[in-house]
Symmetry: C2
Subunit: 737 residues, 2 copies
């Protein structure tokens, strides 16, 4: 086993001469501030014997340079529109942010609030183990490594977009910078690399990434797994790179110089600042893994205080000197906002129309009637069979040109996912000649995971100012799933266009056929997952996703590659209820103990169910047969019991589900299911549906056999627990495994 | 919108002088071979008007250099142990591989088989849209971009490991190289970057990555989204980089020189060969996106043939001259294997013990009795409450030292996932001083996605020679999910240790609490997902995962951070049945229409159910109450109807599920569920369980209320469709969204 390193990385002690911060009061007390932050972090982790002290202690000087000097914000109004955004991608280091927000005087970040870190008093607490978007001064929820870096890229893109759209040479209303702080983890994660590569291509010179390079992770020194030249790698991805080498743990001056250089850089590139620090500085274990994610222990906490020449028994000490030093931050912040307010009023006079648009876009309101009215009514939809992905394209062409909030893009499949529209412009650096930052079509490249996390940044910039539309094959939404989960967790809306959503993708084969993925998106809280049956249901899903009441809920549309007909009785109202009857055949003259037979299906399988119902009705003329389209299971769960029983009469009829995915989850809505039980195959889509048992003949014969079997029984209506898989044998023969 | 580029990237025409391949016969006909491959690719895509011709045409020369010269393989025995491995990460370019395997004379790769590409005759076909591991000569299934690069890293690690373990200076039985071919997509994907970074750190000098740099993706020219200096980036990650600049589409000689240089490089680093090619070379649209993923059209196919001075109407033409030229490849391959056989017999005489181990490890057999016998019996397990992740650590310490097949690792959380053991050695380049390639503890770094895809490469090297064990928090298995799905699809076994599997992770908060993820792993085909209730069930899950019958099925163990007691009646036999009764209290003297009340739970919630059952029995003395542990739903589904009804009597009793995850899927096994309906919170784990309704009092009161409500009804046993969520209100108040 790799021995834990026995010698700590050497650190500057005693602390170097007082660093010079922008305002003298802060520079004078810099050593005092660093000592305060480290002792406080050590105390807060020690109190309940848990948390992450190391980075807060090692990066204290970075924090001082950021909150004490270079960042533009107003602690008395955390939501001031033109504030710089700060993203702590290394979310476990949250104490650094919490403590500085406390020192800066954010009203809710009291000492009592800090002390709730890891406490039992967690309801309504802001001192969570990772920063969350609900908390004052926190822009995005971070924690799963790499997400924050991509969120920051999204925030920077949003800022670039609004600046390009609204700024005038004589009147700039969008001037902010995006600061992101990361550790090794976010750089190692693939999503981090995707985001870095994209930011470099886009030339996001308003983005500054601070790499707290402490060479230590949970498992020990970084050199057991990560020995690349990160600065060179990031430079190769189009970034300007600044290094603060040696140990910069206490060198506020050097850090400040680097941050200012980055902020004022004319390079036209995002800036990566590689700062070498000592994790857990001032601890007996400084520079070592044990300081990363655990309490230091009472004795070591005392050592930290002795090292800083403080009372080793006194806890949670912040001197008036330190508090007073941050008064300048408060006054500066107030001033920033005042100046901006003056700019805005000047802007309103000079450019009243733009100012009106600006205010509308940043009002936090997005009138969903607008989108509802823009979407074509059913009588305007193509009557010929088309893929639901193309129907979604009709919605995009109706909405995007008229709704500036929509920034749409694809992970290199825009020709297949139909998120483009006439007259659109690419979101690109003007130098490329491919578009401008005012463009609203984003070329995400083959970076699905970053695409979704960047969308979170776009949505987080300001409520409802941007509605990101992201798209790729359904299969590759699994690459993006960790970021999509973060959208749902944070209540950030996007519209996800997931196309080629079944074996209907055909010849690309099993690697591209998303068997089982829907179960994830149906199970994640606060996510609207739709599988529309036709163009009308696509309009309903789009309309629902754009609703005010869904402004805190992401929406995914699972769409077909293959053609599906427009169903006579499909309706967007039905979509809102989650499931509804789209077809009824036969009479209820049955005297075999069954009130009815119901086929419940989703997406492309609904039209197959409709065909099968007609055929079944010929075989069983004395039975009422309903076909139910169920585009959204969760919305159906929210309907009244009466409605649910009227649509899926599980008590007195037979209900069979038809869906070319895993049967997982269908037992709640049906007595039997015709679903996939293996992965798919490579072949023409029509033949694959036949092969896996979804041909009309197969559907009819399996359901008829099941019906015959049930009516022979004393009680033909199945009990709970009688769930049957009708295609178990068919599908099981399909794949080698 | 970005205009599609109007001018093609210039290509060398007419074809340059005949390149010199190693064996004269091939070099003489090189231009003829390239023409043949391009015309054949064009024909095969045209026949059913679908597929990917561009890369096969643009990279034909790379293919000739690989299959015609530098790669060591025997077409008559595709499974020869010491063969070079080839991975086509850009799986959509499969025609390149299929056509060259045909020319090399792989028995099953006949012209008839090639013609089944995109045909309706797909059952038993090998000409799938992406290469699949079942096919002769294919090492891994690729398609989702980036996976193949990581698979290749895994194959290279396996080769390095076996070489370090078995080779002797005078007798090298493992000498192969791993060749991987990739396009832009795999390089843009995060997983590709993770794998590149890891390979660089590990100094895998047996790995050669060929970058078919054609500057074109589905959406158009690469410069709309990807403008980094990839060679510099990869060099910074520790790779040797060779560039074949200019247009190398036809320069077999230059490509061959680069491949040989890479193969023979003494740098001790993996080698990245950046080869500039023209996609769809010889098409009227050469160098343009339209040649990437669609048929060229009859007219353009004829143009390709005219360009190559061939009969524009003749299809599927391969001249005898070309076939004959590949005779040398067959004879060379036969010779490679003969020489190796001699080396082996020599090795067997000199090192009989090692040779025996070698043969055992590569026998394809892994006797599961070994693991079953190594695992401690229940009476040897700790009687005190421990986390199930620690119980798994006991299994690892019992198995790993005695089973050389186990290569375990963690994504920087080995201290938390307990996949380490005494006396283990790190898998590291000796130069680092941290271990050797003979080591079996892999430091994956913070690269979860690559970890799982690398495990696929380790497992694919040879059947059962390696059983990869991968580990991280359950939450981060979502980062790895796309690769885990590929494990299940390919039938590649790993043991996944997913720890901190619920709100029991506590203070880290909602970002780290995997609500809803289990639904994905329960729905994916061919995946064993276990959530063991205690140490005994952990042993059962480990034993099951190591079974012969599961050699083609990956296994995931979802494990607790918090302590759970050893249950008196838990058993590994019960684990094999998916669900079983672990506790019975009360009598069946009930005359209220209910035969029994059953609480079915998983993992850490089982011991809570046991406590609650005792309390409920005091409240309802005249009712038999069973507690069922359900570590694996799918295994339970496979049991007889009689057994299932005896464990979960849904027909005549009440069944309530208790699981601190989403309720999705539980309607199949219970009438009501106590589950999470929002994301979690940051707080001490015990308090979180109380808060979200999983405290004993809450469980008892909710279930007692539900029981009271049911028995007041005429038929207390719920019907199908009566599924109820008992914690809907409790949980809904927990999170801001």
């Amino acid at each position: 086993m790799t021995p834990a390193p026995t010698t700590a990385i050497p650190a500057h002690t005693p602390i170097t001469q007082p660093p010079k911060a922008a305002n003298s009061s802060l520079s004078d007390v810099a050593p005092e501030v660093l000592a305060t932050v480290r002792c406080l972090a050590a105390d807060l982790v020690q109190q309940f014997n848990g948390g992450h002290p190391g980075t807060a202690m090692g990066a204290a000087a970075i924090g001082l340079a950021l909150w004490g000097d270079v960042m533009r914000f107003n602690p008395k109004n955390a939501n001031w529109l033109d504030r710089d955004r700060f993203v702590l991608s290394a979310g476990h280091a949250c104490l650094l942010q919490y403590i500085y927000m406390h020192l800066c005087g954010y009203p809710t970040w009291t000492m009592d609030m800090l002390k709730r870190y890891h406490s039992r008093d967690f309801i309504g607490s802001q001192s969570a183990g990772h920063p969350e978007i609900e908390f004052e001064g926190v822009e995005v929820t971070t924690g799963p490594l790499g997400q924050g870096v991509a969120n920051a890229v999204g925030l920077a893109m949003a800022s670039k977009h609004f600046a390009a759209r609204y700024n005038k040479d004589d009147c700039k209303v969008v001037n902010n910078k995006i600061w992101c702080m990361t550790g090794d983890g976010c750089i190692q994660e693939g999503i981090g690399c995707e985001a870095l590569s994209m930011a470099g291509h886009l030339g996001l010179d308003n983005l500054i990434l601070i790499y707290d390079n402490n060479r230590v992770t949970v498992d020990g020194n970084i050199d057991i797994c990560f020995t690349e030249d990160t600065s060179a790698k990031v430079r190769a991805m189009g970034w300007e790179v600044i290094e603060v080498k040696d140990d910069a743990t206490n060198d506020v001056q050097a850090i400040l110089a680097a941050l200012r250089k980055a902020r004022d850089s004319p390079s036209g590139r995002p800036v990566f600042i590689n700062i070498w620090t000592t994790i857990g500085f001032a601890s007996q274990n400084q520079g070592l893994a044990p300081t990363h994610g655990a309490a230091l222990g009472e004795e070591d906490v005392e050592h930290v205080k002795r090292f800083h020449k403080r009372d080793e028994k006194a806890k949670y000490v912040v001197s008036d000197e330190v508090y007073n030093a941050f008064d300048s931050v408060k006054s500066r912040g107030k001033n920033y906002e005042q100046v901006w307010n003056e700019t805005m009023s000047n802007y309103s006079q000079k450019y009243p129309e733009l100012a009106a648009e600006f205010k509308q876009q940043f009002s936090g309101q997005l009138d969903s009637k607008i989108s509802a009215n823009l979407l074509p009514t059913k009588d305007k939809l193509p009557t010929s069979a088309i893929p639901t992905r193309k129907a979604s394209g009709i919605a995009v062409q109706a909405l995007a040109p008229k709704m500036p909030q929509i920034l749409a893009g694809s992970a290199d499949l825009s020709g297949s996912t139909f998120v483009t529209w006439k007259e659109m412009e690419d979101f690109q650096p003007p130098v490329t000649g491919h578009g401008s930052y005012a463009g609203r079509q984003i070329r995400y490249g083959i970076r699905e995971h970053a695409m979704a996390a960047i969308a979170n940044g776009l949505a987080a910039y300001n409520p409802n100012a941007i509605v990101p539309v992201i798209s790729t094959f359904f299969m590759f939404f699994l690459y993006a799933a960790p970021a999509i989960r973060m959208s749902a967790l944070q209540g950030l809306r996007f519209i996800g266009i997931a196309t080629h959503d079944s074996i209907g993708i055909g010849e690309d084969g099993p690697t591209h056929q998303p068997i089982g993925l829907a179960s994830l998106f149906r199970a994640i809280p606060n996510l609207n997952f739709f599988r529309p049956a036709d163009a009308e249901e696509v309009m309903g899903a789009w309309q629902f996703g754009m609703e005010e009441k869904n402004q805190h809920t992401p929406t995914i549309l699972s769409l077909s590659r293959q053609n599906v007909p427009l169903l006579p009785n499909s309706s967007r109202e039905g979509v809102y209820r989650g499931a509804y009857i789209v077809k009824t055949v036969g009479s209820s003259a049955s005297n075999n103990g069954l009130a009815s037979l119901t086929l419940v299906a989703t997406g492309g399988e609904v039209s197959r169910a409709v065909e099968a119902a007609d055929e079944l009705s010929r075989l069983i003329p004395d039975l009422a047969i309903n076909v139910v389209s169920m585009p959204n299971q969760r919305l159906f769960d929210q309907q009244s019991k009466e409605y649910r029983q009227s649509v899926l009469p599980l008590h007195n009829g037979l209900v069979v589900a038809i869906e070319a995915w895993s049967s997982y989850g269908w037992a709640r809505y049906s007595h039997a299911a015709m679903c996939m039980h293996t992965f798919g195959l490579s072949g023409p889509q029509a033949d694959l549906f036949e092969h896996f048992g979804f041909g009309i003949k197969s559907i009819v014969s399996h359901i008829h056999d099941y019906y015959q079997k049930r009516i022979k029984l004393q009680s033909p209506v199945p009990c709970a627990g009688d769930f049957e898989e009708l295609l178990l044998d068919v599908a099981a023969t399909a794949h080698a495994h």
